[in-house]
Amino acid sequence: MEQKPESLREAFGQVLEELGSTMPEIVAVGADTTESIRTSLFGDKFPDRLFNVGIAEQNMIGVSSGLALYGKKVICGTYMVFIERAIDQIRNTIGYCNLDVKIVGTHTGISVGPDGGSHQTIEDIAIMRALPNMKVVAPCDFYSTKAITREAITAKGPFYIRLPRSSLPGVYTDESIKIGKANLLRDGKDITIIANGIMVQEALKAAVSLKDAGISASVMDFHTIKPIDAEAIIKAATDTGRIITAEDHNIIGGLGSAVAEVLSTRRPTMIRMVGVNDTFGESGQPAELMSKYGISDRSIFENAKEMVKL
């Protein structure tokens, strides 16, 4: 039963606008993409608390840091590929000083589509999760984005909130998810698919095809990459003995690596990683690109079948 796709950016913007009323300490900083990433919803309501610094991401991060060092709660963001030019500032101010800044990076992964490889961040999770103090989250639909945005903004300290460009069908019907706690979306006994972001939908589709092929697959939404829910990983490994990770990100350093770090040190288990195979993307429609770069439901399905045969 396919639901109508909804914008995750819109979900983020709605929560920011809503919290702006009850939390006067919230301010936002944008970089000429405030409409697109929907911080404009907050800005329309609180024009004195949104600062647009133009196409100047380093300054966006620096200004955000200054606001946070003063004592404000700061939400800043733009397309993630542009934020990456300010990694120095993110590291040395937000990360180093554990500042109360939420970085919202949108248009992530190959699924960005027609804008092409220059805009498709496939390295962002690897970079951000290697920064001490930084928490990393990647929701998969409208309601989980709302829940995660609300919890991240309410919490103290730095977060990277990774949002895709695409609107996505609903997985959740309410805001019941919690940062740091993986969600079991489908229970199975032969294999566990650990996915996040846009790949949760793909994992669910793959699980249906696998069922038809006689393979029972669990699907888990790992919306939080850091801190990773290690207990959920170990339980999945114990229950099914096989793990596939699925993400719209390089196979180096992303969700797959985070899961492998837990498994290899605590419960060595067969694992395969579905992700972008250390290459840049190109222009195309999201579905075409996901198929070409091996991050579709098909790719999860094939890998799962092979693993179960082994």
């Binding site: 133009g54 380093q58 300054n59 606001l67 700061v74 500032q89």
Partner: protein, 288 residues
Amino acid sequence: MADIDFKDPNRRIGAPELKSIASEIREDILRMLSEAKSGHPGGSLSCTDILVSIYFGKMRHDPTNPKWNDRDRLLLSKGHAAPALYSVLSKCGYFPKEELMTLRKMDSRLQGHPDPKKLPGVEIPGGPEGIGLSEGIGMALAARIDKKPIRVYVITGDGELDEGEVWEAAMAAAKFKLDNLVAIVDQNGLQQEGPTANIMPSDPVSAKFKAFNWNVIEIDGNNIQEVLNALGQADKAKRIPTAIVAKTKKGKGVSFMEGKVEYHSKTISGEVLDKAIAEIRNGSKEGA
């Protein structure tokens, strides 16, 4: 220094007294760096008079309550001048003087570059160049939202002007009409590998800030009276940020260090240190 009320904006401490404090700071800087055996004397000595003028002669702050919400802020964007900042903070009373000699050592609060998590009085982290002006904008905007008469001072180096972020910030500060923001460019004319004129010419610095719609004041940054006058003038700016372009000497106060590139990050010890300190003490006895 216990008798100075740093919270009083109308306190009057004359240039001669500030000059004498600056000499003590310079002596501290050289002793700390000698003990640490690494660090940056040249750029610490060049901005000493600016730091002393602001902390002792101008800024409202409270060493007994470093997180006082209504304090003015001093952001040392050229974080490698950490020894100068540390000595000033200690002399104001933020922490005991004995701690100065732990600079750059294991478990010290006096990190090689300032860390606001560790040391009271430090407002921003130091290290990579070019971030401080942006952070100053953030603080100035926050003060405006809260309708507080807080003033934000940012000290940048002139080598630091190579960083693109400085000019992103320069545009933004003018856009936001931040008359509570003052940038002081410590223009000592040298950077790590040579004269800024050779490595990356930043001049005409004043004309650049003017073109970016800033109020610009040019001074001799090693003349405390001129620094005080410029800080007073900056108070009067309305709906425009102020840049004080302060010409200084790198290594100021020690004849054989002044204007020498190698003292960007070369420390001294033994007889050379004694000679330098004797010079600084003699210099402080001359008229202000």
